[in-house]
Structure formats: structure tokens, C-alpha cells
């Protein structure tokens, strides 16, 4: 078995009164592409945010390549949900991608031409080179998502976390993003993706983490993504095949 680069032990997190995550335990192999799947409110985004200390954890530990988050930070890339920022902010696509390099540029220093070129190259990789000077408010949802991905690419991280990068994007963008994810994997990067579309899980991910407040199942997609396991994760309230809109929102106490 390959070495594990992410180890999560007994992680718990809460929003106000509700515990969202309880005793989450798993470890992720280097070079794997994992889909995090579960019903609405299962804590998928919260899991990622808690692992990256964007949300406080109640208990538990997370380490990356044997290091705590603080030291591993520079090896980690994060693509937040598209809706998490105000796209009306006055800036262009190239500038947003350049933000991915801010850590490398160093604080209080300005980006040089070399950094801009690097950012442009990442945009090109996402098929967005014609939009480099475009105001981000004038980009479509799919294009905004590509910009976010390009920003993560320039970080040149070893581990990537992506929160629903495929939500609400068109088929072309979905293909472009999946091509990049597979390329990242081929280059030995470890990628974890919050994913919503059950139909494409088998096609896109080699590993799957079924989550509903805690880890229901985790492992190779071929072994883990079975009808029974998925039904268990979704509380048995889900019609199988083609009816992905039948998710049940859990409000259970």
C-alpha cells in the first residue's frame, strides 16, 4: 500500500449547537483522487474547512505528510466554493490567478513580470488565456471556476482540496477541470474533491469517501461505491441511477 499523506483522527466539528462532524477517521494515499460524497448537510465542506483550520475543530488531529497543518500549509492548495467570494470585486482574471503566488512572492512585495507569466500559463492550461484581462464579474460561472482552479495550479501544491468545483458548470468546463484533476494525479499530487453528482463518481475518482456526519465508507471506488453503501450514506432515501435530484436533506437530530 502506498504511503498515506493525509491522516485524520477522531475529528469533530460543530456549527453553533449542531455537531456536524463526529469522530471522522481516515487516511489518504499519496497520488489518489478522492471524491467526498454525501447528502446535503453531511458536513462535506465543513470537513475540508476543518482540516484546513478555516473552521474550528472540537477534537481530533489532522496531519499532512506527517506535519501539522501550520507547517504543511505551503504544500496545500485549496479551491473554495465559487460562491464564497464577491465576484463584483474590481479585478481581472489574471490578477486573481496571481493571488495564488502571493505566498511565494512574499508579503509586502509586488508581483514581478515572471509571476504574471506563471499566472498566465496557468490560465492557458485552463483554456482561459483569452480572458486574462477580463473583469471577473463578466466571467460566466464555469469561467470563474476555471480561474479558481488556475489560481490553485500556480500554487504548485502537493495536496489539493476542492469544494464542489463541478457544481453548476457546463459540460466543457467539467471536462477541462477533470482533465486537470487527472493530470494532477498523474503527477503524483493528492487531490480531494467534494462532489455532488453520484452518476459520475465511478468515472472520475479512484477513491471515494462516503460521508454523513462521520465516515460511512472509504476506499477504492470499485470496492466502496456500492449500491448498499451509497444507500446507507444517504439514509436509504434515495432512488438509484439517474435520479440525482432525489437527495434527501437530513435534518436529523
Amino acid at each position: 500500500m502506498a504511503e498515506s499523506v493525509i491522516k485524520v483522527k477522531e475529528l469533530s466539528a460543530a456549527y453553533r449547537k449542531n455537531t456536524v462532524l463526529e469522530n471522522v477517521d481516515f487516511s489518504v494515499e499519496k497520488g489518489s483522487l478522492t471524491g467526498i460524497v454525501g447528502p446535503n448537510g453531511a458536513g462535506k465542506s465543513t470537513l475540508i474547512k476543518t482540516m484546513l483550520q478555516l473552521h474550528p475543530s472540537l477534537s481530533g488531529t489532522v496531519d499532512f505528510m506527517g506535519l501539522p497543518f501550520k507547517q504543511a500549509k505551503k504544500y496545500i492548495g485549496y479551491v473554495p466554493q465559487r460562491g464564497s467570494v464577491d465576484w463584483d470585486f474590481p479585478t481581472n482574471a489574471l490578477d486573481v490567478v496571481t493571488m495564488g503566488l502571493y505566498g511565494k512572492i512574499g508579503w509586502l512585495k509586488l508581483p514581478t513580470r515572471m509571476h504574471k507569466e506563471k499566472a498566465f500559463h496557468a490560465l492557458k492550461k485552463m483554456g482561459m488565456e483569452d480572458y486574462a484581462d477580463r473583469q471577473i464579474s463578466q466571467l460566466s460561472g464555469g469561467q470563474q471556476q476555471r480561474v479558481f482552479l488556475a489560481r490553485a495550479l500556480v500554487q504548485d501544491a502537493d495536496i489539493y482540496f476542492m469544494d464542489e468545483p463541478l457544481a453548476g458548470v457546463d459540460a466543457a468546463t467539467e471536462r477541462a477541470i477533470m482533465t486537470i484533476l487527472k493530470e494532477l494525479k498523474a503527477n503524483g499530487k493528492t487531490v480531494m474533491v467534494v462532489h455532488h453528482d453520484l452518476q459520475t463518481v465511478e468515472e472520475y475518482f479512484d477513491h471515494v469517501l462516503l460521508l454523513n456526519r462521520t465516515v460511512m465508507n472509504h476506499g477504492k471506488t470499485t470496492e466502496t461505491f456500492t449500491k448498499d453503501n451509497v444507500a446507507k450514506t444517504y439514509g436509504g432515501n434515495m432512488r438509484w441511477m439517474g435520479e440525482e435530484k432525489q437527495y434527501v436533506v437530513h435534518t436529523g437530530k
Partner: protein, 303 residues
């Protein structure tokens, strides 16, 4: 009356309200993208009791001391707003409304008390409500200039950091920027700008100098850098022109004139602004329609 303007004191005062306007215009852009424009108003009102208490304690009108009092009081207001919204079900805007009026009410009450005491009437503390730039002495001007310059330098040096902090704080945290540190700095520059402005512009209207230049600048540009620059220019011009006009009459308050000048800039921006100004929107609509009509005509010819 023109002789007032020729005096070197007036020139100093003009310079200080101009640089105040520049600082306020820039800090206003931060507040705009933090979606906290109204917060600056709450903090300004909350500064009043601090000014009076500082005066009561020391019995002298030293601007630096009064500014420190104002800052403490404003920060207390900010803390209470934060506390109310995080521990109760009261939302932020309601909390701001409460703190703003309660602190301001307390300030007015204290002011009445001070004015009854001997010498209180001559203290000129009334000026802190509507602003009276002409009441500033040279040491006041120097205090104000220095603090405003510090604010501008902080914004200038951390331009890239401010940008990512405002656009995507979560990502910024991920790449190692301390959001707590940035929040601290942000509150610091915001409160500093407010308190140095309260003598010249007054607690009631200083927020306008933070809000109006930045929204006006938004009509002219799609770049954060230019938004900061344009907002700084509008703020600086409003400060200088407003002070100039108020110096024409004796005892005219400065704040209202500064805000009115800023209001004129806003109106111009709203109508003629390059980005989504009323006129440019209309022209663009016309052009698009013309293009559509032309396209249809050429299609008709082909068909």
C-alpha cells in the same frame, strides 16, 4: 474675509483636511469591500463619549488625548457590536443601530454636563459634533497630518495583502496571511481615520467622508488600485474644497461643506461614471440596439 485664507494657519488646516480626505477615501474602499460602510458611522458616533470623558479627566483640550479617548470609546463600541451579534440573536445592523444611538446619546448628555461647568463653554467641544477645522491649532494639525500619513503608508505598503484579504480571506489564510492580524490592522486604520477626522468633520458626518468617495470611485474603474487612487483624490478634494468654503463664513461648520462637496462628486460619478454610470449605461444600450437593428437589416437584405 479672504484674509483668513491667506494666513498660514488656514493653509495648514487645508492641507490637513485634504490629507484626511485622502486617508478616508482609501480606508473607505476597504470598508466598502468589507461591506461595512455603515460600521464606520456607528464607530464615529461611538467616539463622542470618549472625547468628552478624556476632556473631563484632563481638563484640557489636547487633541492627541481627545483622539485617544475617542479611539477607546469607538473600539468599545466595535467590541460591543461584535459581542451583541455573536451572543444574541440580534443581527449586526440592529446592533450597530443600538450602539450608535446609545453611545451618541451618552456623549450628548456628557457634553451638556461639561458645558454647564465653569470654562466648559469655552472648551469648544461642541465643535466635535459638526466639525470645525478653523478651531484647530498648529499642534492639532500636526497630530492629524502625522496619523493620516501613517494610515496612508499602511495601506500603500500592504496593497497586495489588502486586496486578497478583501477579495478572498479564506484563501488568503490558506496561503499564510494572518486574517486576525489583518482584521486588527483594518480596525486600526478605520478607527484612526475616524478619530483624526472628528475635529475637522465632526462625529456625525465623518462616516460620509469614508463612504461617499469610495462609492463614487466605483463608477469610474474596474481595478482595485484605481478605485483606491480615485477615491483618495475625491476624498482629498472634498476635504480641501469643503474646508475652503466653510472658511468663507465665520463660524461655519466644516463637516457639512466637506460632505456636500463629496456629494457633488458622487452625483457627477453616478451620472457620468464610465462604469455603469447612468449616461454610459444609456449610451451602451443605444449602441447595442443599433447593432442589433443593423444586423437585422443586413439579414433582410440577404433574405
Amino acid at each position: 474675509m479672504w484674509s483668513i485664507l491667506a494666513s498660514s494657519t488656514t493653509q495648514w488646516v487645508l492641507a490637513s483636511t485634504m490629507i484626511l480626505g485622502i486617508a478616508a477615501g482609501m480606508v473607505g474602499c476597504l470598508a466598502y469591500w468589507k461591506k461595512q460602510s455603515l460600521m464606520s458611522d456607528a464607530l464615529a458616533h461611538a467616539a463622542l463619549p470618549g472625547v468628552i470623558i478624556a476632556f473631563l479627566l484632563l481638563q484640557e483640550k489636547n487633541l492627541l488625548i481627545l483622539i485617544i479617548g475617542a479611539a477607546i470609546s469607538a473600539l468599545m463600541g466595535a467590541f460591543l457590536i461584535q459581542l451583541i451579534q455573536s451572543t444574541t440573536r440580534i443581527t449586526e445592523d440592529t446592533a450597530m443601530g443600538m450602539i450608535l444611538s446609545i453611545f451618541f446619546g451618552a456623549g450628548l448628555m456628557l457634553l451638556t454636563l461639561v458645558n454647564r461647568t465653569a470654562g466648559g463653554n469655552q472648551s469648544g467641544l461642541d465643535n466635535f459634533i459638526f466639525g470645525q477645522a478653523a478651531a484647530m491649532v498648529k499642534s492639532d494639525v500636526i497630530t492629524m497630518l502625522m496619523l493620516a500619513v501613517i494610515v496612508i503608508i499602511v495601506l500603500f505598503l500592504g496593497f497586495k495583502e489588502w486586496k486578497i484579504y478583501l477579495f478572498d480571506p479564506q484563501f488568503a489564510k490558506g496561503i499564510g496571511l494572518s486574517i486576525r492580524g489583518m482584521n486588527f490592522l483594518y480596525t486600526g486604520v478605520l478607527v484612526t481615520t475616524i478619530v483624526i477626522g472628528i475635529q475637522a468633520v465632526g462625529v456625525i458626518l465623518i462616516a460620509a467622508l469614508l463612504i461617499i468617495p469610495s462609492v463614487s470611485a466605483r463608477y469610474w474603474t474596474q481595478s482595485f488600485k484605481w478605485m483606491l487612487i480615485i477615491s483618495a483624490c475625491i476624498g482629498g478634494l472634498s476635504g480641501a474644497i469643503g474646508t475652503y468654503i466653510s472658511a468663507l463664513g465665520s463660524g461655519w461648520p466644516t463637516g457639512p461643506f466637506i460632505v456636500l462637496v463629496a456629494g457633488v462628486f458622487f452625483t457627477i460619478s453616478l451620472i457620468f461614471g464610465k462604469e455603469k454610470g447612468i449616461v454610459s449605461n444609456y449610451i451602451q444600450f443605444k449602441i447595442q440596439r443599433k447593432q442589433l437593428v443593423n444586423k437585422q437589416i443586413s439579414l433582410d437584405h440577404k433574405g
